[in-house]
């Protein structure tokens, strides 16, 4: 009796499981859906406030700025159909397209750009990337509160279709700057109507190839084609971006047919190498540990140099296994004016000497310091490795500490830890973008380090069309940053490794990691 009941129940369970297991996700090309993952929940989709690559991955598909990149990462017209530069190189005139529209049908006007840029610079917005437009006349003064008149900023909508920009000095790469997300146009009426919630689906209005259809926080975002987009309508009917923190989980989802592309975790590289689905390319992205130079003992450049020279960076690719490029330089390979000969070498003896000079022979008396990083398995690995190397080579015990990304970012804004991990991906392919991070006025300079000569070099190089002079300037600047003052210690440069389903066409992998999906289509055969 009991046995029969038990047997029936077991058979029922088995059948149920079998039925569930054999159900498969619908073929991706039935309703052409492209599914991918984001490593974190986007901290914000307000493009004046966004700073990180996750937000960027979403925004680049929702929005379009004055210019965009071509296959060679050179700027080409987007919302602006053409532009002119004055003879002194300081005034730009952008002519907008007639047919560029927002997702609610309204035309994109020059006034939308003026509003967005002034909002970016408005001190009340407290936008981290405000400094991005400091090259515009009056921008810095407005943002730092020296004047409270937005009219003093050198950007004006001359009419609905013409945007005039006056720069403080000639910037040769300005058209590249206006590809970047913080310069996207913005709708004053939407922002003022919805306040903090304006980026939610239903209120958000965008001008790019896709619109935000659904946003289930910390889980997924869904995009659909923008019916009013001026360009070719995207071939995809839908894009779904899942928030999945674990790369191995994402890979398995890819393998079971739940995703169209996934980042390849290092452990899987040997399995996928040589397969047609595997794509790899270098990226203009580097990682470093910064010192808060106002916090002892890192106030002493000798200590900073010692810490940098005590690390053998060749251990990192062995640990992370993604073909990382060990780096003591900061400007990455592939970037114009790259120079591999710059940076402090691995030299534990000199490092120990420096530490002794600074008053901590053999690490004795060295105060307890904490190295901080945002939570992720790779960051933990590197942090633990650094901890072990500093102990081994300097005799110093460093403590470790980590927080989730959002919280960590806020900490860096207000009170950077003595040692902190950060990375930087190029916003545009020019060394200025990597080096101006550490000028005294940069909002991204968490090190609190200031050097006038460095600032001067960066300033002059940005305006100088002469390549030889630019090279010299950037070399000297890097030497100050990395060798003399050692305000940061670079770790490595990243590579990107993807697996992409063979039926995905039109996805261009580029060194800026721009995941543009407007040209992607899914092909059955």
């Amino acid at each position: 009796m009991i046995r029969r009941i038990a047997a029936i129940v077991l058979i029922l369970c088995a059948t149920a499981l079998w039925v569930l297991a054999s159900a498969r996700p619908p073929h991706p090309w039935d309703e052409s859906t492209f599914r991918m993952t984001l490593s974190n929940e986007p901290p914000t989709l307000d493009w004046n406030l966004a700073t990180d690559s996750v937000s960027f991955d979403v925004l680049i598909n929702l929005m379009e700025g004055l210019t965009e990149y071509d296959e060679h990462l050179r700027p080409r017209p987007a919302v602006a159909r053409s532009w002119e530069v004055s003879s002194d190189g300081r005034t730009y005139l952008f002519h907008l397209r007639e047919d560029a529209r927002w997702s609610d049908g309204k035309p994109v006007t020059a006034g939308d750009f003026e509003y967005s840029w002034k909002r970016l610079l408005d001190p009340k917005t407290a936008a981290e990337y405000a400094y991005f437009l400091y090259d515009i006349e009056g921008a810095e003064d407005y943002n730092t509160g020296k004047t409270d008149r937005p009219e003093s900023v050198g950007v004006r909508a001359l009419d609905n279709r013409t945007l005039q920009v006056r720069l403080r000095k000639p910037i040769v790469f300005f058209p590249s700057i206006v590809t970047f997300m913080v310069t996207y146009p913005m709708r004053r009426d939407i922002v003022e109507k919805f306040g903090e919630r304006w980026t939610e689906p239903g209120s958000i209005v965008t001008d790019g190839p896709f619109v935000l259809d659904e946003w289930r926080h910390e889980y997924k975002l869904s995009l659909r084609p923008n019916p009013y987009y001026y360009g070719t309508r995207p071939a995809l009917d839908r894009v779904v971006m899942f928030v999945v923190n674990e790369t191995t989980t994402a890979l398995t989802l890819y393998e079971t047919g739940d995703l169209e592309m996934a980042t390849l975790p290092p452990e899987a590289m040997s399995v996928y190498r040589g397969k047609p689905e595997y794509f790899t390319a270098p990226i203009l992205r580097g990682y470093y540990y910064g010192f808060n130079v106002l916090k002892p003992p890192f106030t002493d450049p000798r200590v900073r140099r010692a810490f940098s020279m005590a690390i053998d960076r060749k251990e990192f690719p062995a640990i992370l296994k993604r073909g990382e490029i060990p780096a003591s330089f900061w400007v990455p390979p592939g970037m114009p004016y790259f120079n591999s000969a710059i940076g402090l070498p691995f030299d534990p003896d000199t490092a120990r000497g420096l530490l002794a000079e600074a008053g901590f022979p053999g690490g004795r008396g060295f105060p307890a310091v904490t190295a901080s990083f945002n939570t992720s398995p790779e960051n933990s690995l590197i942090a633990e490795n650094l901890q072990a190397q500093w102990k081994r080579n300097l005799g110093v015990q460093v403590l470790l500490d980590n927080q989730e990304w959002k919280v960590y970012l806020k900490r860096l804004q207000t009170d950077p830890p003595p040692l902190f991990r950060l990375g930087w991906g190029a916003d545009y392919p020019d060394p200025d973008n990597f080096l101006n991070l550490f000028t005294s006025t940069s909002g991204n300079n968490r090190t609190r380090w200031k050097n006038n000569r460095y600032d001067e070099l960066i300033r002059s190089a940005a305006a100088d069309p002469n390549p030889l002079r630019r090279q010299k300037a950037y070399d000297e600047a890097q030497r100050i940053l990395l060798e003399k003052d050692s305000a940061i210690m670079p770790l490595f440069v990243a590579t990107q490794n993807w697996v992409i389903k063979p039926y995905v066409r039109g996805l261009r992998i580029n060194a800026l990691e721009l995941l543009e999906l407007k040209n992607v289509r899914l092909e059955k055969s």
Binding site: E267, A268, I319, P377, L381, Q387, A388
Partner: protein, 275 residues
């Protein structure tokens, strides 16, 4: 000899636990490598001659880390359980003995603690005190004493009605004497069983906490934090999570089997019926 024959479970599980404790205590001598020694030339190796259980992502020997992890997990487990049982027993015994309004109020407080989500309390406490061993120990103890309090109170309520208690009071024995010398010794069976079951619960809680990433900070290891490290590499390097999980599992089983066996032996009400 007859004891061993008639109580094989106690011997086997108890023996296993003693072995683990021994390993934990002697870890610094028993471990072939220091737990934090990284060897970037032997990363993510499977079990082999040089590293019996393989290495992790930083080239650290898994077997050594497992031994050191035993110290952490067992220490937290045992001390948390001890504290919870100590505090819970006194609380529950006093409440049950006093009865009436005092009992009511004390039990309402217990209900209140029960109504608060465990995880939240644990995180709140670790965040206040810090992620060291002390913080975790306090957090886990403060959450688990309530179960013990309820059990002991139930026992004391029953024992209180026995005639020898009445007799003791008639003679003029003060309350605390009755409680500590007459009633509590009779709860010893239940106490020991409760303790034996509390330990795996505490070890479980600690490993779950470490798995989330809120347990002990690196480079120190506990079985839970090792499982956390192994989880993301599980697809390609299962040994990283297999060994900590296995050890955790066996230890927990041992405690649970021991608890069952002790309950059969010591607690007359729950004796296993053999038809």
């Amino acid at each position: 000899m007859r004891f061993i024959q008639s109580h094989p479970n106690i011997i086997i599980s108890g023996g296993f636990i003693l072995i683990v404790c021994f390993a934990a205590l002697t870890a610094p001598w028993l471990a072939p490598y220091p737990f934090d020694q990284q060897d970037t030339h032997s990363i993510l190796q499977g079990p082999g001659a040089q590293h019996w259980m393989g290495t992790d992502r930083l080239g650290r020997d898994l077997f050594s880390r497992l031994l050191y992890g035993a110290r952490m997990s067992m220490a937290v487990g045992i001390f948390t359980a001890l504290f919870a049982v100590l505090f819970g027993t006194i609380y529950g015994a006093v409440s049950g003995y006093m009865g009436g309004r005092a009992d009511n109020i004390l039990m309402r407080i217990v209900d209140l603690v029960y109504s608060l989500p465990d995880l939240l309390l644990i995180i709140l406490i670790t965040v206040t005190i810090g992620r060291g061993v002390l913080g975790i120990f306090l957090a886990l103890s403060l959450v688990s004493w309530v179960t013990v309090a309820r059990i002991i109170r139930g026992e004391v309520l029953k024992l209180r009605e026995f005639s020898y208690v009445e007799a003791a009071r008639a003679v003029g024995a003060p309350h605390h004497r009755i409680l500590f010398f007459h009633i509590l010794p009779n709860t010893l069976g239940v106490l020991i069983v409760t303790l034996t079951f509390r330990i795996p619960a505490a070890i479980l809680a600690e490993s779950t906490l470490s798995f989330i990433g809120l347990g002990i900070a690196p480079p120190f290891a506990s079985w839970g934090s090792m499982a956390n490290e192994g989880w993301s590499a599980m697809k390609f390097y299962p040994h990283l999570i297999l060994f900590p999980s296995l050890v955790l599992f066996l230890t927990m089983v041992a405690f649970n089997v021991l608890g069952d066996a002790l309950r059969d032996a010591l607690d007359p009400e729950h004796r296993q019926r053999s038809a």
